[in-house]
């Protein structure tokens, strides 16, 4: 069976700074993979390159076997794929952002139904039904007519998750989904993600929530300085003996719930 996502020798530079230095990664269907690592280690860039929001400098990303963004051409050279092809492959992916990125001029329901009507051409009445079903799933059906400005950060992020799920993606990417939320609101978002994981959704999560990573993920990827340092089950990665660089990283999280790993 083809892996859900394959990352091959991915490199990304911003100017003279090389942020990703050759990443290889395979995510199997149904896996919940948490990408952890210090600030500046390239976690978010990796996720953004997988989604083709940032264009990798070299290397390839395959989603369910299909190249996203770049593919080798007949001569084996790396070639940019046309936008329409990018959109087709991207349709398999849903993405949730750190800053939620809800459209401020659309209500919660409007945010969820917008792409259904505009992109997928679904009739408004059916889009509304589907949108409400997704909002119910994240516990926000009662807030369907609220604008993003009228919702808390946690509620906005749950709407953002509903918006992504409405398009029925095969793979969900989460870019630090709780980093701009206070601890009280973090829980409600993590609960939605936990439920999604238990349904078998393939998820790649960049997160500082080590507790969530340890309890929900079945794969942990530790990035450091643009390189993939560790890749294994939570037991393998967090268990003793620990990689010294990970040990050092985890120390900074001891007061944030990582103590449960000790």
């Amino acid at each position: 069976m083809t892996a859900a996502v394959i990352v091959k020798a991915l490199r990304k530079s911003f100017g003279a700074t090389e942020v990703l230095r050759g990443i290889d990664l395979e995510v199997a269907a149904g896996d919940v993979t948490c990408i952890i690592g210090p600030s500046g280690s390239g976690k978010s860039t990796l996720l953004r390159c997988i989604a083709f929001l940032d264009q990798a400098t070299d290397g390839y990303v395959f989603v369910q076997g299909e190249p996203l963004g770049f593919a080798p051409d007949a001569s084996g050279a790396r070639a940019r794929l046309p936008d329409a092809r990018v959109r087709d492959v991207r349709a398999k992916i849903g993405m949730v952002f750190q800053q939620f990125n809800l459209w401020p001029h659309r209500t919660a329901l409007g945010n969820v139904t917008e792409a259904l009507t505009t992109v997928r051409g679904i009739a408004p009445a059916e889009a509304r039904e589907r949108g409400l079903a997704q909002l119910r799933k994240v516990g926000l059906a009662a807030h369907a007519d609220h604008f993003p400005a009228q919702l808390s950060g946690g509620q906005q992020q749950r709407v953002a998750i509903a918006r992504a799920l409405a398009l029925e993606p095969q793979i969900m990417l989460f870019d630090e989904p709780t980093s701009s939320l206070d601890p009280e609101l973090t829980g409600e978002v993590l609960n939605v993600m936990r439920a999604l994981a238990s349904e078998g959704m393939t998820m790649i999560v960049v997160s500082h929530e080590i507790g969530f990573a340890a309890s929900v993920a079945n794969r942990i990827v530790f990035l450091d300085g643009g390189k993939l340092l560790l890749n294994g089950t939570p037991k393998e990665v967090f268990g003793q003996p620990r990689h010294p660089r990970l040990e050092q990283f985890l120390e900074t999280y001891l007061d944030r719930g990582a103590a449960i790993l000790a």
Binding site: A51, L53, D83, R87, R90, A91, I93, G94, M95, F97, Q99, N101, L102, W103, P104, H105, E114, A115, T118, V119, R120, H146, F147, P148, A149, Q150, A160, R163, A164, L167
Partner: protein, 213 residues
Amino acid sequence: MTWQLFQLLVTAAGLTVFISAVSIMIALVLGTIVSVVTLSPKPAFALAGRTYISFFRGVPLLVQLLLIYNLLPVMGIDLPGIVAAIIGLSLCTAAFQAENLRGAFASLPRGLVEAAEMAGFSAAQILRRVRVPIAFRLALPALANEAIFTLRASSLVSVVGVVELTRTAQDLASSTFLPLQLFAAAGLLYLLLSWTIAALGHVMERRMRWGRV
């Protein structure tokens, strides 16, 4: 000043409203296109947009109007003064509206566009469904300001033979020897029209509050 004279001014103000309203509408559409073109990643497009803005912003409207009015017949196009007036006014105010919108487009959070990209929107759909509505809201106070400016600038179109409010006041003043009263009345009418545009702007701002208090 008689009631009859005032009625003549009000009738002329109707033409001022027509010329201004049509020019404001055309300028909003044209200004949106110019600002989007100016922000294009293609250098030739961006240069074309910037050239447009710098020309129509840099040459006085009065000169532009006279230029258009005299240029068109040379090119074999015979247009009534009112059309030349609307073309001149629209082209000029579109340059300013384009600048107002360019700022709004540029300040749009990148993430809102990325969310649309991930949802499968094409570039045209992102423009129509996400970038334009939000940029309009951000630029609304400046757009309304420029609309008021257009109304006031319409007083210049008398140079191409359009007998609008200012020109009517002028004509009546020279035949009745009541310049003070007539120009005061014309000024009052302009003020009322400006207030109307400002009020419309506020109504739109309120309607586009999107849940903010």
